[in-house]
């Protein structure tokens, strides 16, 4: 718990770095768009990323409950899942948290307030977050396939029903 205590002190710095990392994957002309602070309706992706990251950090450095974290991760990953990234590129940002933690704790580490052992423990926790993200990502992609099928069905349901090829409920 000790390391989380230290990390929480740097929460703003961590969330900024994490946000930068999250958006660094886009072309610079897109990065600027997503980073721009504007209202959530004029910039839905940037807004979702910015708010979700803080919420994820709060929960992750606090209670770290899977059932709470999953919907928070979903806010980011649902967007990534439809942006033509490979799954690995879409989720790489999660693992970036390890390096960020080490970076912001430089002082604490050198002064012995936090140990490398703590850091290793934290790394393992991030891996858990990564696995959870994998579940969320897969869920989004499965949803994507589901809605494709649902749409095709909806578009012709009446015809099939009429042709008595299917039975209406």
């Amino acid at each position: 718990m000790a390391i989380e205590h230290h990390l929480l002190k740097h929460k703003e710095e961590i969330s900024q770095k994490w946000f930068d990392l999250l958006t660094s994957i886009y072309a610079p002309e897109g990065v600027r768009l997503f980073k721009k602070e504007s209202d959530e309706f004029a910039n839905p992706v940037g807004h979702a990323f910015r708010t979700a990251i803080v919420e994820i950090l709060d929960e992750f450095l606090g209670e770290n409950r899977a059932e709470t974290l999953a919907p928070l991760l979903d806010k980011v990953i649902r967007v990534r899942a439809v942006q033509t990234f490979s799954p690995s590129a879409a989720l790489a940002f999660v693992f970036g948290l390890k390096a960020i933690a080490e970076e912001v704790l430089e002082e604490e580490l050198s002064e012995g307030e936090a140990s490398t052992g703590d850091l290793r423990e934290f790394d393992r926790k991030v891996e858990g977050l990564g696995l959870l993200s994998f579940d969320v990502y897969t869920g989004c992609r499965e949803k994507l396939f589901d809605i494709k099928i649902a749409e095709i069905k909806r578009n012709t349901r009446r015809l099939l029903e009429r042709a008595q090829l299917i039975i209406s409920e």
Partner: protein, 341 residues
């Protein structure tokens, strides 16, 4: 790339004028030939461009509607965002041209930061453009005093208003400062916003640098080098009365300023600066949304191949009769139809 090129071009122009006037004895060229040439290019080019646009027909009436259409009498009509008459369209165009209505639509945003609402004003581009264009206009009108004798009252009035902050001599014009600020904003914006930089071409930077150069040299002539205005007026009045004279001792800074202005005029019709004329011809703004009320004719409308009802019925007659749908020709009247699939 585009930035360097444009900057070099403007600096090159300045140097050319300076060397030309001071070392090469080209005062006559920069004081007489160039302005005449520039005006010919400007006027000729402007008219040519507008006529060329105007020659293209407007096949369809496709205004972008920005408010409630004219509908049932009890529904409030947004007359100026969605005009249905020529008069209303005139107002829409006036709002567009005089107040940059469309640019003003960039709304302010609400941002929530830890339960507190912040408002972010998104109209900087609108404000800077409006400032820029109006300052340009005032400065242009102020310059009328070099081309009129006696100077019209409104030019004096403008000068009075513009220079009411009398700090020392000569009085400082507010528009000069605002103009430089606005142009600088437009340049910086183009450089630092990645999206805008990505789409910017040399022809976007060049006019900005040119105009900034005009502004700065203009200020220098007035406040720093204090060019002899009587001599300048002799030159300008000579130009417009077609009896050009070059009074001695005007100073190179004036010629630099003058050369940049001439370049701007000559360049104008061949560049995006023609948006000044183009906006009046923009079919999404200058037409009323009345195409359900009045027929709009497309001059090149031509007949096209259609699938007629007769062909359709020939194709489906049997099935239609079987389903009890009325047909124009009964089955026995059209024996050939049954042969079709």
């Amino acid at each position: 790339m585009g930035i360097k090129f444009s900057l070099v071009a403007v600096v090159g122009l300045i140097l050319a004028a300076y060397i030309g006037v001071t070392a090469a004895g080209l005062s006559h060229f920069f004081g007489v030939s160039m302005p005449y040439l520039a005006m010919i290019l400007f006027l000729g080019g402007f008219v040519y461009r507008v006529l060329k646009w105007g020659r293209a027909p407007v096949p369809f009436r496709i205004p972008t509607t920005g408010g409630q259409e004219k509908s049932l009498p009890w529904i409030k009509h947004a007359k100026f965002d969605n005009p249905s008459t020529k008069g209303q369209t005139f107002v829409r165009m006036a709002l567009e041209v005089l107040l940059f209505r469309s640019l003003f639509r960039n709304t302010k945003f609400e941002i929530e930061k830890g339960h507190k609402l912040f408002y972010q004003w998104e109209k900087w581009l609108w404000l800077a453009s409006l400032t820029f264009h109006y300052c340009f206009l005032v400065i242009l009108l102020r310059h009328l005093r070099f081309f009129t004798e006696p100077v019209p009252f409104f030019v004096h009035g403008l000068e009075g208003l513009d220079g009411f902050l009398q700090v020392g001599l000569p009085g400082i014009y507010i528009t000069d400062g605002l103009f430089i600020l606005a142009v600088t904003y437009l340049i910086i914006r183009r450089l630092i916003i990645p999206q805008v930089r990505y789409i910017s071409l040399p022809q976007d930077y060049f006019p900005l640098f040119l105009i900034l150069g005009i502004g700065l040299t203009g200020i220098l002539t007035r406040y720093v080098y204090k060019v002899d205005l009587i001599k300048v007026k002799t030159l300008t009045m000579g130009l417009i009365s077609f009896h050009p004279v070059i009074p001695a001792g005007i100073g190179p800074i004036f010629f630099i300023h003058f050369a940049l202005v001439c370049t701007l005029f000559a360049y104008f019709p061949f560049s995006k600066l023609m948006h000044a004329g183009g906006i009046f011809l923009s079919p999404t703004r200058n037409l009323p949304n009345d195409s359900r009320i009045k027929r709009h004719v497309n001059p090149w409308n031509y007949p096209v191949k259609v699938h007629s009802y007769a062909e359709y019925e020939d194709h489906f007659r049997e099935k239609m009769v079987e389903a009890g749908l009325p047909v124009d020709k009964e089955l026995e009247e059209a024996p050939s139809a049954s042969a079709k699939p």
